[in-house]
């Protein structure tokens, strides 16, 4: 079960990356991680650095993917972003991509929320 969730997550992250590229973002890094946590996607929208948290769910029976993004999780992304910047200041923001997949991994819904904090 755990591995299945991970697979879903990876699949979702790939879908999100493709979506962002289509929107004209440049993907800088995927799964930037250290012992404190992970940022799913780091991209550049024109000159703004964007840290993206991707949440994927199969079906909406157990709640919306949006519900799984807690303030605590966003704080972790924020702290990770600070670490990524290593003290340098740059215009940046945090986005959330919520994806709902069907039984055969087809995309039922993809919502991109910009600047969520």
């Amino acid at each position: 079960m755990k591995t299945k969730n991970r697979e879903t997550g990876r699949a979702g992250e790939a879908i999100a990356a493709r979506h962002l590229e289509k929107k004209g973002y440049t993907i800088l890094e995927k799964n930037f991680s250290n012992k404190f946590g992970e940022i799913d996607i780091i991209a550049k929208d024109k000159n703004i650095l964007v840290f993206v948290e991707v949440k994927t769910k199969i079906g909406e029976d157990f709640g919306l993917p949006e519900e799984m993004i807690t303030p605590g999780k966003l704080w972790r992304v924020r702290n990770m972003a600070t670490m990524y910047l290593q003290g340098e200041s740059a215009p940046c923001r945090i986005d959330v991509v919520a994806i709902v997949l069907g039984a055969t991994n087809e995309v039922l819904r993809l919502t991109h929320y910009e600047n969520v904090i």
């Binding site: 919306l64 949006e66 519900e67 993004i69 959330v96 929320y113 969520v116």
Partner: protein, 509 residues
């Protein structure tokens, strides 16, 4: 979409209008935030509202929802904002339409959408009368509180879904009928009859005077002579609450959340007997958002302190302000509130720690030091505020006998109540148009204007005052007691005989 729902906040006994602004935004990351100095209970409304809406068969929109409780600088506490927030979310998400007119929503939600009993409904109803044609939507279990208030339409809401059907015009909830206040003076409410207490005629007389004029009483005597029983008999001879008095008392109970469900008005005078382990905050009132204490719950009733010297000194001293002013002012970080606290103090004390000092047959085992220490626990300023002091002496065995016929006939509670009611009627006439109810509440101004003291009676008082060095307060208090005794005798003027009786109850030592 942004909607504004009317609700209220109760700060002490003051009611302040609160605008519950609910915004359901189309854009933005879904979430539910409440701002406006909300306490933990208000913050938790998020989960209650969310679940109640879903369980009532409506959609909780997965959108960015922001709730603002204005004015933003007033601390909000309690669960009463559940209903206005839920209605706001339903209206702002386009699921229902707000009824026209001036509407107020107030009440706590349970997870299944049922409205739970909520404190302070009466205060909301009284507030709503300020504007004509106001409708209030309140939880059905506590709606009865509001039924005594005229000029306001009260809609008792059992469930959130019922409210939605009501505003949609599918199935309307009928407004609560207005109930009129009726004075119910039933004898069945007497727990202890005065005639059940053997002897103690002087103490009984003192209680009648106390009941008639609202004076404070101190009873002292050895253990087991009937001090506690006498105090318990006092509520039985007190007159029922009048219309405006009942409303005042009910307001206090409403804000404390002590009104039983379905009770519209409190008609019986309260008898509060806190244990001597009580804290000062428990007596005076307190808490982050200060709630009324025992003195306010005993408003227009009786506060009984059994074994008075056992109470912490701080607690006793804190009684000084309410005993003098008839109200308490509580100051906390959240603000300061004022509660009425005009009560009759009944105190019972033993003459010494072992209780037998001055007993005709038993020996006292206390040392002088112990007695001095015991007496020292009650300060002069407190004793100075007590109008009637009576010695409750041990009862002779002959009077206790169950088989011998007693020749003397004891005063019954029924007779006492009749005398008290007559005296109160005279006082009601005297204080018509003022905010006073009893002689004991008179201030110096009223004593001068309405005391009706004969020169002979005053001369008598002057002589006693000089001899025993009465304080200015005692002087005025004696006139008030004499006024009540004159009222009991149905005399227009205070005669020397009334003053003489008043002096009997003054502790001279």
């Amino acid at each position: 979409m942004l909607v504004k729902i009317n609700s209220v906040a109760n700060v002490g006994l003051e009611t302040v209008a609160v605008d519950v602004e609910v915004d359901v935004a189309e854009k933005g990351f879904p979430g539910f935030t409440i701002v406006g100095l909300a306490s933990k209970a208000v913050e938790e409304a998020r989960e209650r509202v969310k679940t109640a809406i879903t369980n009532s068969g409506f959609d909780f929109p997965p959108k960015k929802i922001t709730v603002n409780l204005a004015p933003a600088d007033l601390p909000k506490d309690g669960a009463a904002y559940d209903l206005p927030i839920a209605v706001g979310v339903l209206v702002a998400s386009g699921q229902i339409e707000l009824p026209k007119g001036n509407n107020y929503f107030y009440g706590e939600l349970s997870l299944d959408g049922t409205l739970r009993p909520t404190r302070g409904i009466l205060l909301l109803a009284l507030f709503a009368t300020k504007k004509k044609g106001t409708t209030i939507f309140v939880p059905a279990p506590s709606a009865a509180e509001a039924s005594v208030v005229s000029d306001v339409t009260v809609i008792p809401v059992p469930m959130l879904a019922d409210l939605v059907r009501h505003v949609a015009g599918e199935k309307s909830i009928s407004p609560l009928p207005h109930t009129r206040y009726e004075i119910a003076d039933d004898e069945g409410s007497i727990d202890f009859d005065l005639k059940e207490i053997a002897g103690q005629e002087q103490a009984k007389r003192a209680l009648v005077i106390a009941a008639a004029g609202g004076h404070n009483v101190l009873m002292w005597g050895p253990p087991g002579t009937g001090k506690t029983m006498l105090a318990r008999a006092l509520p039985g001879i007190l007159p029922p609450l009048t219309d405006s008095e009942a409303l005042e008392v009910t307001r206090i109970f409403s804000i404390s959340g002590l009104l039983p469900s379905g009770v519209a008005l409190i008609k019986k005078r309260s008898f509060r007997a806190p244990h001597h382990g009580v804290s000062a905050a428990g007596v005076i009132g307190g808490g982050t958002n200060p709630l009324p204490g025992e003195v306010s719950l005993a408003h227009l009733g009786v506060l009984f302190l059994d074994e008075m010297p056992e109470f912490p000194r701080g607690v006793l001293e804190s009684l000084r302000q309410p005993m003098e002013d008839g109200e308490v002012e509580i100051v906390r970080v959240a603000g300061h509130v004022r509660y009425p606290a005009s009560f009759t103090l009944v105190a019972a004390i033993n003459p010494c720690p072992c209780g037998y000092l001055g007993h005709p047959r038993r020996e006292c085992k206390c040392t002088d030091k112990q007695i001095a220490k015991y007496r020292h626990r009650i300060s002069g300023p407190i004793l100075d505020r007590i109008d009637l002091t009576v010695n409750v002496a041990p009862v002779e065995v002959e009077k206790l006998s169950l088989t011998t016929q007693h020749t003397e006939i004891s005063l019954t509670s029924k007779e006492a109540k009749k005398a008290v009611n007559a005296a109160r009627a005279l006082q009601a006439k005297r204080f018509e148009g003022t905010r006073l109810y009893t002689n004991s509440q008179m201030r110096n101004r009223e004593v001068k204007a309405l005391g009706m003291l004969t020169p002979e009676a005053e001369n008598f008082l002057k002589l006693a005052a000089e001899k025993y060095d009465f304080s200015a307060r005692s002087y005025m208090r004696l006139i008030k007691v004499a006024r009540t005794i004159a009222d009991l005798a149905a005399e227009k003027m205070i005669l020397p005989v009334h003053m003489a009786e008043a002096l009997q109850y003054k502790q001279l030592a």
